[in-house]
């Protein structure tokens, strides 16, 4: 090692550093812009998520809440095993993971199919040329979307009340027209445990929450479909009708393919939103009767809020996350696969 070499180094370093500093200045400022978001998210989003995974392997319970209490015991996969086998059902009556997941999927798909079909058909009705009152209808039909779903849910809950609810009252007045006694329409929507349609294991409360959520969900699809319909060139229909295509043929061969690129992402958004539709289930049927209309997010909340099994709730939430991950990957694949339809 010679002195001169050292000297050289010390002379060159600042300029190297300067060059590096200048070269990376844009990157540095980019990371500076990212810093606030990722700093906050690290603290209140990512850390709690990792903590949740850790909690899911412990028996964290109400006894561990106090600041001076002992840390929870590590129990390995016990929470997960309890969820899949009967272990959790011993603490939460009528809990069955597979039935819950199946019901959640039935709930999701039955809703979204009706939302999309009703949404598109109503959008087509509204798109008719020279329709009277178009603007008024469009304004009214957006109302279910603009009212908070929390309010809609509690209102429907009271409407389904067996004695004073307006649903039974309306049914009774319709029934009265054909001479049916009002007594027949004291329907106990939320408590009846028998299945109204033989062979289909879905309670009356399922149909009640389905009705409420259809009321809530179709306007979004109508708005998306209306936007897509307006971008279809009218001469396509003119050419088709000159060639003798019936309106039904026009609908399936022009309208459907043309609005598909807009409807598929909207339907995928609807799937995820409906899968996690907490408000309608929690406030209207409360998962009842006998947990037959419980979905995954309402169950996760009850495990914290009512059973206070925090470790178990964490394990359950990890499973919710995995199911959603699967669902999202499938929906993203479907969205991507249909993207090329644009052309």
């Amino acid at each position: 090692m010679t002195v001169s070499l050292n000297k050289n180094e010390t002379l060159e370093r600042p300029s190297d550093f300067q060059a590096w500093w200048n070269r990376t200045s844009k990157n540095r400022i980019i990371y500076m812009y990212l810093f606030p978001s990722f700093f906050v998210m690290s603290l209140i989003t990512f850390y709690p998520l990792l903590y949740e995974v850790w909690m899911s392997f412990t028996d964290y319970g109400i006894q561990n809440l106090r600041a001076d209490s002992a840390p929870p015991n590590f129990v390995g996969m016990k929470n997960y095993l309890d969820i899949f086998s009967g272990g959790l059902a011993a603490k939460v009556p009528n809990f069955n993971f597979l039935a819950l997941l199946t019901f959640n999927l039935v709930w999701t798909f039955s809703n979204v199919i009706v939302h999309v079909v009703a949404g598109v058909l109503i959008a087509v009705l509204l798109d008719a040329d020279g329709l009277w009152g178009k603007g008024i209808y469009r304004t009214i039909f957006v109302l279910p979307m603009v009212i908070p779903s929390l309010v809609i849910a509690v209102v429907w809950r009271n409407m389904f009340d067996p004695t004073a609810g307006s649903i039974n009252a309306a049914l009774a007045s319709i029934g009265g027209l054909v001479g049916l006694p009002a007594k027949m329409f004291e329907i106990r929507w939320m408590e009846q445990t028998s299945y109204p349609i033989p062979g289909i294991p879905l309670t009356l409360s399922f149909f009640a929450v389905l009705i409420a959520n259809i009321w809530l969900g179709w306007p979004f699809m109508t708005i998306v479909a209306t936007g897509a319909l307006q971008s279809i060139p009218k001469d396509l229909y003119e050419a088709a009708s000159m060639d003798g295509a019936t309106p039904v043929q026009q609908f399936f061969n022009i309208t459907v393919p043309m609005i598909r690129p807009a409807m598929v992402p909207a339907a995928m958004y609807g799937l995820i939103a409906t899968f996690n539709q907490f408000n309608v289930i929690y406030f209207i049927s409360q998962g009842g009767p006998l947990r037959k209309t419980e979905i995954m997010v309402t169950t996760a909340f009850r495990l914290v809020n009512e059973q206070r099994l925090y470790g178990m709730a964490a394990a359950f939430s990890v499973l919710v996350f995995l199911v959603l991950l699967g669902l999202t990957l499938v929906t993203n694949r479907i969205t991507k696969a249909t993207e090329s339809y644009d052309a």
């Binding site: 400022i29 980019i30 812009y33 990212l34 606030p36 978001s37 906050v40 998210m41 209140i44 989003t45 990512f46 850390y47 709690p48 998520l49 949740e52 964290y60 809440l65 600041a67 009705l125 008719a128 040329d129 329709l131 209808y137 009214i140 039909f141 957006v142 109302l143 979307m145 603009v146 009212i147 908070p148 929390l150 509690v154 209102v155 009271n158 004073a164 009252a169 309306a170 009321w215 979004f220 708005i223 998306v224 992402p265 995928m268 958004y269 995820i272 996690n276 907490f278 406030f283 997010v297 996760a300 495990l303 914290v304 925090y310 709730a313 939430s317 919710v320 959603l324 999202t328 993203n332």
Partner: protein, 293 residues
């Protein structure tokens, strides 16, 4: 362009009948709750759909003290307002920088960081109630005379909410910023503007509608937030309008008159519904950008 043939009279009438029926179905719950809120009947649960006599008594009662809890309407509304505005403002303020660089630049780690945001977005906020409850419960704030458990405070609920609304704000804002043409920024860079100048003087003014919509969506989720506040808060002075509404409906509603419950529903809905109607076009556009939230 107006040479397309109009629908025939027969079709018009069929369509009108169908649309009037749908209008009836849409309006039925709304008219029921509005009618109920003005119902002057003495019965706790009036049966008639259209009230026979009308009064604003329910509104007067709700405006004073809606539930059996010792908390006034003004306090509840103030708590909801603080929570909603605070959450919305923080999410937009913290998130807009990240949204901008995600929308415009390629840099090391971009994919991983964006993936992290999207993954969190997928999770419903209820799936993180357990760890947030436990973690915030372990934090005690001591400021001179003031001492409180972070979990049992509106501030803690706000923090827990931002954990979900911040990733949403980043993603939503990025979606909107992607649609703003880059020409202006490029012109400004040629004229010698630096990074910060471009962001503050060009992007932020152009993004004002997007900022407003994202703020409103954050406000809406704070205004109607239920699960976290219901789980976290135990002191009536911290309760929110959404919690009070459930107290007037659920198994704790006791002998709450339905007219009061209906008036409360309307008072909670009207402010946000009016703003939603004004921003409707932008909100729907944003929700469908790219197919992810």
């Amino acid at each position: 362009m107006h040479d397309t043939k109009q629908i025939s009279l027969g079709k018009q009438i069929t369509y009108q009948i169908l649309l009037l029926f749908i209008t009836f179905v849409v309006m039925f719950p709304i008219l029921w709750v509005v009618g109920m809120s003005f119902n002057a009947s003495n019965s706790a649960r009036p049966k008639e759909i259209i009230p026979s006599s009308i009064s604003i008594e329910a509104y007067q009662k709700v405006m004073v003290q809606p539930t059996a809890n010792p908390v006034t309407f003004a306090q509840l509304a103030m708590n909801s307002l603080l929570l909603a505005a605070g959450v919305a403002f923080c999410s937009v303020l913290i998130g807009v920088g990240a949204a901008y660089v995600f929308s415009r630049f390629k840099f090391t780690g971009r994919e991983i960081l964006m993936m992290a945001v999207v993954t969190v977005l997928m999770l419903p906020s209820i799936a993180t109630v357990a760890p947030l409850f436990v973690l915030l419960n372990s934090v005690k704030i001591e400021l001179g005379d003031i001492s409180f458990n972070l979990r049992n405070s509106l501030f803690g609920v706000g923090l827990a909410m931002i954990s979900g609304t911040l990733p949403f704000a980043i993603w939503n804002l990025k979606g909107y910023l992607d649609t703003i043409p880059k020409d202006l920024e490029e012109a400004a860079l040629i004229d010698g503007a630096n990074f910060n100048q471009v962001f503050f003087m060009i992007i932020l003014p152009l993004a004002r509608p997007a900022l407003a919509v994202t703020f409103f969506l954050g406000f809406l989720s704070g205004w109607t937030e239920f699960a976290l506040s219901w789980q976290f808060l135990t002191q009536p002075k911290n309760f929110t309008l959404a919690m009070a509404l459930w107290n007037m409906t659920g198994q704790y509603s006791g002998d709450t008159k339905w007219s009061s419950f209906a008036a409360m529903s309307i008072l909670l809905s009207v402010p946000v519904a009016v703003v939603y109607l004004m921003l409707q076009r932008q909100i729907v556009g944003g929700l469908t950008v790219g197919g992810v939230k």
